[in-house]
């Protein structure tokens, strides 16, 4: 059925990725240093450390975080209100329970006599009327089902809207009000590649890439407040955008084909 990547494989990939990144970072840093030194020699010493006004902290960083938290809480309550009372489908409920039971069978198979295990296994995977038996090619494609069922499609639409609209509005608000100045300094040095992403409103190309605009603070908050929301709103909250974004890419999943 599923083919789970071995933990060792993932670790190996991550290690490789980190080594490559580290080398890139080192090389670019040296290049930067060289470039900066050459520029300094040209124009004389330049003040590398910008002193940022504390007013920026008081009036930009903190209000932005507070606003994002409040918007998240608002979205949570709105989604709670808008959630229609779902009448569970009979087939779905039964399927869910069958899966739990079959999973228990697989997990604890050593604890029951072999005859009863074989009887149960046959009950599930029997070709004629096994509960879990799915003939090849007939498995309902999850994505097709998603669009054909009108209720589910409406729910998906609502959830997506409730995610997209606040994000767009907040982003526009940040861009309109909080652009054109340096908002924060990232404590670790970065390469020049990040300049386009983090310094959108700052039109000076000589400022260190560590000095970022408020757009990057917005993105930092967007991904970082997930943990805060799960503490204050409990585990199931509608603000888990990243999870849903990951879900949206994972369709086209056919359970009968091996190696999914």
């Amino acid at each position: 059925m599923d083919k789970f990547r071995d933990c060792g494989d993932i670790k190996k990939d991550l290690r490789y990725l980190y080594t490559v990144q580290f080398w890139v970072f080192l090389v670019s840093r040296n290049a930067n240093r060289g470039e900066r030194k050459s520029r300094e020699r040209e124009r004389g010493a330049m003040a590398e450390d910008l002193v940022l006004d504390t007013a920026i902290r008081d009036w930009v960083l903190i209000p932005l975080s507070v606003v994002m938290v409040l918007i998240g809480v608002l979205r949570y309550f709105v989604s709670k209100l808008m959630r229609s009372a779902q009448i569970p489908d009979a087939k779905l409920v039964k399927e869910g329970q069958v899966i739990v039971r079959a999973r228990n069978l697989r997990a604890a198979a050593n604890f029951i006599p072999p005859k009863s295990f074989r009887a149960r296994r046959l009950y599930y995977s029997n070709e004629e009327n096994g509960l879990l038996y799915v003939p090849k090619g007939q498995a309902p494609n999850a994505q097709a089902q998603m669009f054909s069922d009108p209720n589910m499609a409406m729910d998906m639409m609502k959830k997506n809207l409730s995610m997209i609209i606040p994000q767009t509005l907040t982003f526009a608000w940040v861009n309109f009000f909080f652009s054109g100045f340096v908002a924060a300094k990232i404590p670790f040095p970065l390469t020049q590649r990040f300049r386009a992403m983090l310094q959108n409103g700052i039109d000076l190309s000589t400022v260190d890439v560590s000095y970022v605009s408020s757009r990057s603070w917005y993105f930092l908050n967007l991904f970082g407040l997930r943990g805060l929301f799960s503490i204050i709103l409990g585990e199931e909250n509608a603000t888990d955008d990243t999870q849903r974004m990951m879900q949206m890419t994972g369709f086209g999943f056919d359970p009968t084909k091996p190696g999914c």
């Binding site: 409920v93 039964k94 329970q97 739990v100 228990n104 997990a107 604890a108 604890f111 029951i112 009863s116």
Partner: protein, 302 residues
């Protein structure tokens, strides 16, 4: 399942509350959380809180949960007037609630009006065919009427849809044992072991059923399950120790005529006997001679 620490806490709170030491609300919350059945205490202390208007307003919205808990306890203690009052209060507060409707159905059951209760439950199930609690109440209704076959039917239908509900499997197993349908009970216990393999009670019950069915294979399996119970409880379960001794002697009796090719080593029985004797010496030294004579008779026949 209630853990040891929770059990200790419950007993401590119970003692504290009985001696008028306050803490009644914590006790009631713990009872509700652990789902233990203490109707008399819940009724006494819950009613004390509800009748005292100061304490009642201190609860806020929890007042209604307490009302429900007291109503159920009152029905358990057969004080139906108290229950009716509580339910009336709840109905006034929540006019369209299914939960209150369920309580009213339970009250009809408690009064013995089976037909009306059955009608009420069926109407609830029409609205929402997936309400697990109402299904279970119907089974309880059939069982209370003494109609065990209907109860089994309802429970089987329920388990057809909700097959991962281990409480229902346990109930079905107990019903089968009461009807002496041991093979079916064994199936139910297998389900329980599958869903909770580390719970020694299920192993023990399964071993008991296997021992009762009899036959060489089942006795050997029963011995294995008694052994696994001993393993899971760290050797403290006296019933499993006795079970091992009985199984070994029964197996020995059955296989007396055959050759002793696949006879298990008698070590297990000797260990169990030693553990039992040590336990009895510690806790009930007066009964030790009884134990030794009983065990000796078992060993003689093996």
């Amino acid at each position: 399942m209630v853990t040891k620490s929770e059990e200790d806490q419950l007993n401590r709170l119970e003692a504290q509350v009985d001696n008028a030491g306050g803490g009644a609300w914590e006790y009631l919350c713990l009872v509700r959380k652990l789902k233990v059945r203490r109707p008399d205490k819940v009724l006494k202390h819950g009613l004390a809180i509800l009748n005292d208007s100061k304490k009642r307003s201190a609860l806020g919205t929890e007042e209604w949960t307490l009302c429900e808990q007291v109503a159920v306890a009152a029905m358990d203690c057969q004080s139906l007037d108290v229950a009716k009052d509580c339910i009336k209060v709840l109905r006034k507060r929540f006019p369209d609630s299914k939960r209150v409707g369920r309580l009213e159905g339970m009250l009809l059951e408690a009064k013995g009006l089976w037909a009306e209760a059955e009608k009420a439950y069926s109407s609830f199930l029409e609205d929402n065919p997936f309400d697990q609690v109402i299904h279970k109440r119907r089974v309880a209704l059939a069982k209370a009427q003494g109609n065990i076959t209907t109860a089994i039917e309802c429970l089987n239908k329920y388990l057809d849809t909700f097959m991962a509900d281990h409480d229902a499997w346990r109930e079905l197993a107990e019903i089968y044992i009461s009807l002496q349908m041991y093979k079916q009970a064994a199936f139910c216990y297998e389900e329980l072991i599958l869903s909770q393999p580390t719970n020694p009670l299920h192993h023990l019950a399964y071993a008991d059923v296997l021992y009762t069915i009899g036959g060489l294979e089942n006795l050997q399996a029963a011995k294995k399950y008694y052994a696994s119970t001993i393993n899971l409880t760290g050797g403290k379960n006296r019933r499993a120790l006795f079970g091992v001794c009985l199984c070994t002697s029964a197996i020995g009796q059955l296989s007396k005529g055959r050759n002793k090719e696949d006879k298990d080593s008698p070590e297990l029985q000797l260990l169990a006997v030693a553990a039992l004797e040590k336990d009895y010496k510690q806790r009930a030294p007066g009964k030790l001679p009884l134990l030794t004579s009983a065990l000796k008779s078992l060993r003689v026949s093996s």
